[in-house]
Amino acid sequence: MGYRRRKQPQIVLTIYIKREDRTKKMSYSSYIPLIPLLPLAGFVVLGIFGRKYFKRSSGIIGTFLLLVSTVLALYTAYQYFFVDGKVDGVYQPITAIKYTWLSFSKNVSIDMGIVLDPISVMMLVVVTFVSLMVHIFSLGYMKGEERFGTYYAFLGLFTFSMLGLVISTNLFQIYIFWELVGVSSYLLIGYYYDKPSAVAASKKAFIVTRFADLGFLIGILILAFYGKSLDIKTLIENINSSEFNTITAASLLGISALTWGLTLVFIGGAGKSAMFPLHIWLPDAMEGPTPVSALIHAATMVVAGVYLVARLFPLFTLSPAALSIITFVGLVSALLAAIIACTQTDIKRVLAYSTMSQIGYMMFALGISGYDGEGGLGYTASMFHLFTHAFFKSLLFLGAGAVIHMIHSNEMKDMGGLRKYMPITHITFLVACLAIAGIPPFAGFFSKEEILLAAYHSNKLVYAVALFTSGLTAFYMFRLYFSIFWRKNKQLHDHHQEGTVSMKLPLIILAICTVVAGLIPFGKYVSTRGLPLESHFDPVFSLAPVAFGIAGILLAMWMYKNETARPERISVGLGGIYKAAYRKFYIDEIYMFITKKIIFNLVGRPAAWIDRNVVDGTMNGIAWTTGKISAMIKGVQSGKVQSYTLYFFGGIIALAIIFLYLWK
């Protein structure tokens, strides 16, 4: 009897959950597809008709569609986090929609679907929100461009693809949208298509990430083969269950198939997220319009790699080897990019390297994270940093855009003293700089704090490098800040106006977000298993990072606040190290050597040559020989009766000789 009593309520409960789940799905599926589809509609309409019919109004149309998407995304977030996402105190993933798109075999198929869980809902908000800000900003920034409609069409395509990526239920769905964000990035970097540098940059970005995607693709093939599914949820369940232990057994080179698969998938992520050594495309990608850099190359697309690792995190925890690779790559990228950023003079490139460095933080935070309970702090911290970084980095880029719009140059040396001319840009830029430098109470402080805390608890070396890098971050950001807004102004006179309202408004909104985003108790909502994670704020622990940050700021102030010879002297003093950092450690040159010298000259050219001369030569040779032989024997059929008679009798004599003498 006792047994039955205990059992019964549980059954009732599961039925109850299931029914609730179904109604939830119903309510979500009614409007969530609109979030990605509205920007897609914008792309289709503006892409086909924008040139002719909406020359002026395409900006408004695109922005309006995205505004609706943003509102829906915020509503979804509210619904999910505060109304019905939680079941028994745990945030559950909800599959709102799923249908088969292409089926390969009984278990393996590509599905298109929408999954809602804490990270996907968070990304929905981040992507739509930042994209909206960029849409609004571009109304002013891109005004008067000839291909205004095309620009908004591409922005719509990008937003659609990015949203499709974050809500994916299927590993292959991620890959599909992954490629689509890649191509939108390609189109937008090459937006100024008559500029050779923009063309080169767009090509480079696509090809480098394509190379990384090759890894991703093979990784997917491996995981799908062993996990017998492409559906992420099923895949994780399958690989965790005991039937699938072959995947963790050692295979090629003593490394398990799981590690192979995950590492290859991570290569794809590293390519998109511009991790060392696949980062070379990101600084060049700054050739695109600046609002695009804010959206794609700062806040959303470049964190796709981090998101990918987070999405597959339950699998990554099964492979410590793969996680240590991630930690290493993330840490190296964070440090390397920070060092390079200190030496660059193009303000967008400084921001690009800073993006790479911050993404390095997110990556290694995932790498050092565990899966259960307190061990999962790294995961939460990484997502938190992704969230706050999206706001302050897009703010930095939009601010830089406003500056570039006014000065018509990207170079620091052309700037200076701008605080008088653009007060709003100045203040908001300062807020963002403080945030990225990790100064309380701005958003970056809280998220970076958590990352450092997680690092401290897992590996002291990682912690030390991360701490040093955070000092560097403060230094190069304030180097940028002082160079733009302080020092002496060089060319501007008083009649210069700060940009339009549409350019100022996003700056103000993002600045507000940068101030308040850090106060969100993030761990309550986003954690490895959906269980709330208590905040670990500890004033004593934060002393060291903040001290490093302030030291960096003071150093930058000492060097760059006024026009002095100090930077010059120091760079000369550093000698070779400075030069190497300034030349980005010659990584581009190494790539150029490999592609131009090795791939083109040693593979491509010989292949083309062999094809024309050896393979085709053989074919032509056969034809030539046939022709020659026929020319030789065609004389036989001359039509002369005399020669035919001669051949006839000659043949008879020959046959007679053969029969008489040789036959025996």
Binding site: F104, S105, V183, R210, F225, A607, A608, D611
Partner: protein
């Protein structure tokens, strides 16, 4: 539905063209004929689907036939399964687009359109044939007009190319014929032989016979579909051919080979297919990667697309060589996809050439400014070629990869990875071409005066793009269409056992 309509309609159109006078009449008749073909093929798709919905599970629908030459057992026997329907649809799309882009063909227009329509007849006949002799007959019809099309309307070293193409394809056909004859003489109906495909599948062709004749049939058809090392007609032939002929050649002719490899060689001789699959895979991988690298170094747009066709057709052969159901499905999708895509690419190149009179990458630049429509078409064709999701190429390539990966051996794994690696190289050459032809500064000031596409060119491109996107966005209709067909082929492959 009567499949013979697919042969009668082009015949009537061709006759109409012969009776017409002047370019204007000729092209209108050709256009009407091609449109009717398209409608007919869409109707075929509809009726085929209806039959399947009704629960008709016979392998081949709409079978029809009559005796052609009784004493030797030659029959006219036609019927379609999903694979043939897909190929027929492809043909219809390419033909109408080819007619549209040749709208201003002033030189001997009557003969030109006649040959074009005649080619389509050969292709339809080939795809619906269920009798090996009929099949061969139509294959030949689809070869000979090309010699004239290139030789008369071509450009560059056209005589050389026409001769090369004709000789190599005729060589291929002769190998095919040896293979078919080998099958024929090993069938036996009451002491007589038969060319009937359905009958041959019932027969157990002895394994040693298969081993002899499979290479003939496979290599013969393989030459059509650019099997390494017999692919060298592709670059020369395509680059010398007029636009419509290039479209037809790459879009349909190369698919005749792929279809033949699958339908005749693999299906009828499954044991041998298993036996030789390693060699096929190796050759396919060479074609894929080496073709891609060779493309990278080309400087002429038509050569770029021709070499890339070698690389892309490698996927067809790879899919067939892998002998798994998914991979074969992928091969068929790749045939349709590559047909549409490469026709679109050649159409765009032709449009650019008509205006600028140049195909050299180095002489073109910044066309986006003057020719936004054509440039967009070019970019779309390029993106489809590099396997961007949303376009058909992605679906095809991914299906081949997934199917190939189902084979667990290290050999197959390496082959698949080599094939996968080509997607990077493809991106390199496509983006190089797009980057310097479409984007970048205008290199020739005279190009600034150029006018964008006319209605005919827009319609041609739109039709092909619709086809590409219809597969790229909702691929399941195509996989559902071809699935029963590949299932049949797989059944005979699964039954085949290699006797050591």
């Amino acid at each position: 539905m009567n499949l013979s309509l697919l042969i009668i309609l082009p015949l009537i159109t061709a006759a109409g063209i012969l009776l017409a006078k002047g370019l204007k009449q000729v092209r209108v008749i050709a256009f009407i004929g091609a449109s009717l073909q398209l409608l007919l093929c869409l109707a075929l798709l509809y009726f085929y689907h209806q039959e399947r919905v009704k629960g008709n599970t016979t392998n081949f629908l709409f079978e029809d036939g009559y005796v052609w030459y009784r004493s030797l057992g030659f029959n006219y026997h036609v019927g379609v399964d999903g694979i043939s329907v897909a190929m027929i649809l492809l043909t219809a799309f390419v033909v109408i687009a080819a007619v549209l882009v040749s709208w201003k063909m002033e030189k001997m227009s009557k003969e030109f359109f006649f040959l074009l329509i005649f080619l389509s007849l050969g292709a339809y006949g080939f795809f619906i044939s269920l009798d090996l002799f009929t099949l061969f007959f139509f294959l030949e019809i689809a070869v000979i007009p090309k010699f004239l099309l290139i030789g008369i309307w071509g450009s560059g070293k056209k005589e050389y190319s026409a001769m090369k193409l004709a000789l190599m394809l005729m060589g291929g056909s002769s190998l095919v014929f040896v293979g078919l004859a080998g099958l024929y003489f090993n069938t036996n109906i009451n002491g007589a032989h038969s060319f009937d495909i359905l009958y041959v599948t019932q027969m157990q062709i002895p394994v040693h016979v298969q081993k002899i004749f499979f290479p003939f049939a496979f290599v013969g058809f393989g030459i059509f579909t650019a099997l390494f090392p017999f692919h060298t007609w592709v670059p020369d032939g395509h680059s010398s051919a007029p636009t419509a002929a290039s479209m037809f050649l790459a879009g349909i002719s190369m698919k005749l080979g792929g279809y033949g490899c699958l339908r005749v060689a693999t299906w009828l001789m499954p044991e041998a297919a298993k036996e030789y699959s390693t060699i096929i895979i190796v050759l396919a991988c060479i074609a894929i990667l080496y073709g891609a690298f060779a493309t990278m170094m080309q400087t002429d747009l038509k050569y770029i697309n021709a070499y890339s066709s070698v690389s892309h057709c490698g996927f067809i052969l790879l899919g067939i060589g892998m002998l798994t159901k998914t991979a074969i499905n992928g091969a068929v999708i790749q045939m349709v996809s590559h047909g549409l895509m490469t026709a679109l690419f050649f159409a765009a190149i032709g449009m650019i050439y008509d205006r600028t009179h140049s195909r050299k990458v180095a002489q073109l630049g910044g066309l986006m400014k003057m020719l936004p429509f054509i440039s967009t078409v070019f970019v779309i064709a390029g993106l489809c070629s590099l396997g961007l999701p949303g376009f058909s190429g992605f679906v095809a390539e991914m299906t081949v990869f997934m199917g190939s990966w189902e084979k667990g051996d290290m050999f197959y794994r390496v082959a698949t990875i080599i094939a996968c690696a080509s997607i990077v190289v493809t991106a390199v050459y496509i983006l190089r071409a797009v980057g310097s032809v479409i984007m970048g500064p205008v290199k020739n000031d005279e190009h600034l005066k150029l006018g964008d596409a006319g209605w005919n060119e827009k319609l041609a491109a739109a039709l092909l793009i619709i086809g590409i996107i219809a597969i790229g966005l909702v691929p399941f209709w195509l996989t559902e269409l071809i699935d029963p067909g590949t299932e049949t082929i797989m059944n005979s492959i699964d039954k085949a056992v290699i006797v050591k």
